[in-house]
């Protein structure tokens, strides 16, 4: 990346294309925060690549004045892996949704994560298929009534964060489209992470699944129904910051502070714990029994795929010298015909 400090602002990242999402779509908020955060990173604009699959969210690259590639359904992580390996200087972002990333593209997502491919993956989760007009998605709740499930779906939903953790992602976070400040902070954290980073973003589809997250995100309930994770801090939540999370045996429980329960009894968030057990427990906290954790659930440092690949190539060059065409042809027994 460019050595000189690059001075850019939001406008530099706005393309000349009209944004075509439905009015009120949560995608607008995500686009605005990405365009706000990117200029802060000190990276030249030409060194960003946005790669998407298919779906409403995947139109995202057209609206970013960076290099962009709107690919095919589910395959963005695979295509982005090729981009990153071919040019490791690029900061590569992947835009995907719950259908694109978890249904048709589930395989690519888990493999990009486990390889610690240095991709910033934004998973727009609206728990519905929008672009195909309203079928249930792999994250839709059981019993969801849609055009393709008139009597309610009989599929158990998949949970993106536990899936990401099980896939050995080195950075996993969750945020919501309605909290721009928190969203921006998560984007910054993902941008700074070296390795596979995934953010699940609760994103509201106003047309086909309006209010899917209102039990967690509505102004009236959000303080009581979400837990903002902060590294090194005890897990406290609630409008009056009077509730917390404690561990008993292998189970997490919600406790009321006071009445003999103090801050020191609460779990302290350690996002870089090499053992993913607590992250996994956190990732399975759901409303209404628990507040939903938002923030960085896990962030650990491991060598990224491209770093190890380039190390091997460097080692091979050190051992054998830079290969030339002659070496390709003469690497076997030969004989001469006069």
């Amino acid at each position: 990346m460019s050595e000189e400090a690059v001075k850019l602002d939001r406008k530099d990242f706005v393309s000349d294309q009209d944004v075509r999402w439905c009015p009120g779509c949560g995608d607008y908020s995500i686009l605005a925060q990405v365009q706000k955060v990117l200029p802060e990173l000190g990276i030249a604009r030409e060194n960003f690549a946005f790669i998407s699959g298919i779906g409403c969210s995947s139109r995202f690259p057209y609206y970013m004045n960076t290099y962009g590639f709107h690919t095919i359904h589910g395959r963005a992580p695979a295509l982005a892996s090729g981009v990153k390996i071919a040019n490791p200087n690029l900061q590569v972002w992947v835009i995907t949704g719950d259908g694109d990333g978890l249904s048709i593209g589930g395989n690519h997502l888990i493999h990009a994560l486990r390889r610690n491919m240095d991709l910033k993956i934004l998973l727009f989760n609206n728990e519905i298929y929008g672009l195909t007009k309203g079928q249930y998605s792999p994250t839709s709740e059981m019993g969801k009534k849609t055009k393709s499930t008139p009597m309610g779906s009989v599929d158990y939903p998949i949970q993106p964060v536990p899936l990401a953790l099980a896939s050995e992602a080195t950075f996993v976070a969750r945020t919501v489209d309605t909290n721009p400040k928190h969203l921006a902070e998560m984007l910054r954290r993902a941008a700074d992470h070296k390795g596979s980073a995934i953010i699940e973003i609760y994103q509201n589809c106003v047309i086909f699944n309006d209010g899917a997250f209102k039990d967690v995100t509505d102004r009236s309930v959000r303080d009581d129904m979400s837990l903002i994770l902060e590294d090194g801090k005890p897990m406290i939540f609630g409008k009056d910051s009077d509730k917390g999370i404690r561990i008993r045996g292998t189970k997490l429980e919600v406790v009321q502070l006071g009445d003999g329960v103090s801050e020191s009894d609460l779990l302290v968030h350690n996002e870089s714990d090499p053992d993913p057990a607590l992250s996994m427990l956190l990732s399975r906290m759901h409303a209404p029994e628990y507040p939903v954790p938002l923030g960085v659930i896990r962030a650990i440092r491991r060598p990224a795929y491209h770093e190890m690949l380039l190390d091997q190539e460097e080692e091979a060059v050190q051992k054998k010298g830079v290969g030339e065409i002659r070496d390709l042809l003469m690497d076997s027994e030969t004989w001469t015909v006069q």
Binding site: I72, A86, N87, T336
Partner: protein, 590 residues
């Protein structure tokens, strides 16, 4: 058995004979030994003149067990030499192979020179002092058999002994045992009076130069890496293991000091998609597979057509459909290569004709892909991929040169147009991420001309469909005149493509020696077709198209040129024998 065959071939090569090989092995990794399904064979044809095929009917057959005898005896020519390991003709093995009685004793083998040798017993006897376990000693019997053959053909032992020493460097007991078995077999041949004749074949007269033994997959991997060195662009391979293409992945994985990036993807689709991503980012990108893998990659190939990125797709064809015959050869993916995508999705299609030719076709594929900014699909097949031939190593001056031009920031003046075309090639600029001022977006949605913005305009769609087609048609200007084997006009023209080149050449030459009016051409550019093909076909009364499929090129020629092309079609998982070509020629001219 594959290893023994390869060693005999290497010795033949170093001795200076021309040769062609046909490895034939089961798809199962350890198919039960002794059963008909488990027979692994290796056929080699060599001589002091130009060899085009692995040989129609071998002069010598070595059968290490009854099953091998049953499967391959009919291949042996009349009065050919048949060497068998008589120790393997036990009751159990005989019954596994479906023999009711022992063919070595019941007089059923007639018309061959049978040499029944107790190979196992003699190998074990020779190794009685070896510290190896009995099972491992017995495994040395293939080297014993190789020793007999090396004697039979007056070949030196050194090539194999040196190879054994390197291969088993860390296991000195194995080195000693294998070399002992080899020499014992050789000495057996020398001292026994069993063999009435032994063969002496003089080195082949060939074009002067330095030669090596090469398989199609080895040559192709080297061609792809060479393209990277020629252009100075890094090579990226996105691939998923599949027989018989995996060796290209294996080979390229050893070229890390060439800064070749190999990516073993999670599936075929990811192999293609990662390569498209790498191409977008500026690498020479390739994805390798076989027929079923191409089927999976189909949607991604449509994306490469739409986004007009250079991409090389390699299909090492095997018997299909479905899992089909994974280790056997076929030419049945031509239709898939030409038409196997949704929408109007034209694809430049090339085919290699011999193992060594794969080197040049790998370079040619990248030359066209980068010059025209389009995907290029290169067809090889299982026979080319695993078959070996002596290959004259090209001098530096004989290796094609070409340049790849990346779009420069100056193009941004007045607004960058990622779909503005070069009038000669209709190629759009290759503007890679990291280049200032050329930021742009591409994708699978239809593009507006010049700007590349999303467009649903009806007239634009038709114009773009026609432009993508016209671009592929422009590639015709890259195709050199066809080489005609034989007279420029006559009664019959044999038109071939791909890996059948050797068989067709051999068959046609034999027919010509018999005085028949027959010539042949071999097509390496299948889309677009060579510009002079129609005119050449017009100079012949009849057209014959031999193919290892039901007539895919034949139908294309009939549709394109309205010629009455006849087919010779074989779908047995095996290459043509030259005699099959010859007989068809005789039938058509009879």
């Amino acid at each position: 058995m594959q290893l023994t065959g390869t060693q005999f071939t290497n010795t033949t090569a170093v001795f200076g004979n021309d040769f062609a090989t046909l490895p034939d092995y089961p798809a199962e990794i350890r198919a039960p030994a002794g059963t008909l399904a488990g027979v692994s064979s290796f056929q080699v044809n060599f001589g002091d003149e130009r060899i085009y095929t692995p040989g129609d009917q071998p002069d010598v057959l070595v059968a290490m067990n009854p099953a091998a005898l049953k499967v391959h005896l009919h291949d042996l020519r009349d009065n050919g030499v048949l060497i068998v390991n008589e120790d393997a003709f036990t009751e159990g093995n005989l019954s596994k192979a479906g023999f009711k009685s022992n063919p070595l004793e019941d007089g059923s083998i007639k018309g061959y020179q049978l040499f029944s040798i107790p190979i196992t017993k003699m190998t074990l006897e020779a190794l009685k002092d070896s510290p190896l376990k009995n099972k491992d000693r017995e495994r040395c019997k293939n080297f014993y058999a190789l020793g007999v053959l090396l004697w039979l053909y007056h070949r030196p032992l050194t090539v194999t002994t040196e190879w054994i020493e390197t291969k088993f460097k860390k296991k000195p007991d194995l080195v000693e045992a294998n070399i002992t078995a080899l020499k014992t077999g050789y000495h057996f041949g020398e001292t026994t009076e069993m063999f009435q004749v032994s063969y002496e074949i003089a080195p082949t007269k060939r074009k002067p130069g330095t030669y090596r033994n090469i398989t199609g997959n080895e040559a192709l991997a080297r061609g792809l890496a060479a393209a990277s060195k020629i252009t100075g662009r890094p090579l990226f391979l996105g691939s998923y293991p599949i027989t018989p293409a995996s060796d290209i992945l294996h080979e390229l994985s050893t070229f890390k000091n060439f800064r070749v990036h190999t990516f073993q993807a999670e599936d075929e689709i990811a192999g293609a998609c990662s390569a498209i991503g790498a191409s977008f980012a500026g690498a020479l990108a390739v994805t390798t597979t076989s027929g079923p893998g191409i089927a999976l990659k189909g949607e991604a190939l449509g994306l490469a057509v739409m986004t007009e990125l250079p991409l090389v797709i390699i299909n090492v064809q095997r018997g299909g459909p479905s899992t089909g015959l994974p280790t056997k050869t076929e030419q049945s993916d031509l239709n898939q290569a030409l038409y196997g995508r949704h929408g109007e999705s034209p694809m430049c299609v090339l085919a290699a004709r011999s193992p060594g030719d794969c080197f040049y076709m790998g370079i040619e594929a990248f030359r066209i892909a980068t010059k025209y900014m389009c995907p290029v699909l290169l067809l090889t097949d299982g026979y080319l991929a695993n078959g070996a031939e002596p290959w004259r190593i090209p001098e530096a001056s004989e290796i094609p040169k070409f340049e790849v031009k990346m779009a420069q920031p100056e193009l941004a003046e007045g607004g960058f147009l990622p779909y503005k075309r070069d009038p000669n090639t209709l190629a759009r600029p290759w503007a890679i991420p990291g280049t200032p001022a050329l930021e742009h977006r591409i994708g699978g949605l239809e593009k507006a001309a010049d700007t590349g913005n999303v467009s649903y305009d009806p007239a634009n769609h038709e114009a773009m469909v026609r432009t993508r087609q016209a671009k592929v048609e422009k590639i015709v200007q890259e195709i050199p005149p066809l080489e005609i084997t034989g007279e420029k006009s006559g009664k019959l023209l044999v038109v071939g493509w791909g890996g059948t080149y050797g068989s067709i050449q051999a068959g046609v030459r034999r027919a010509q020696q018999k005085g028949l009016s027959v010539s042949s051409v071999h097509i390496q550019h299948l889309n677009p077709l060579p510009p002079d093909l129609g005119e050449i076909m017009g100079r012949f009364e009849k057209i014959l198209v031999p193919e290892l499929n039901l007539g895919q090129l034949r139908n294309l020629l009939r549709a394109t040129y309205l010629v009455d092309a006849q087919g010779l079609n074989k779908i047995k998982g095996l290459p043509f024998r030259a005699v099959e070509i010859l007989e068809k020629i005789e039938e058509m001219l009879g």
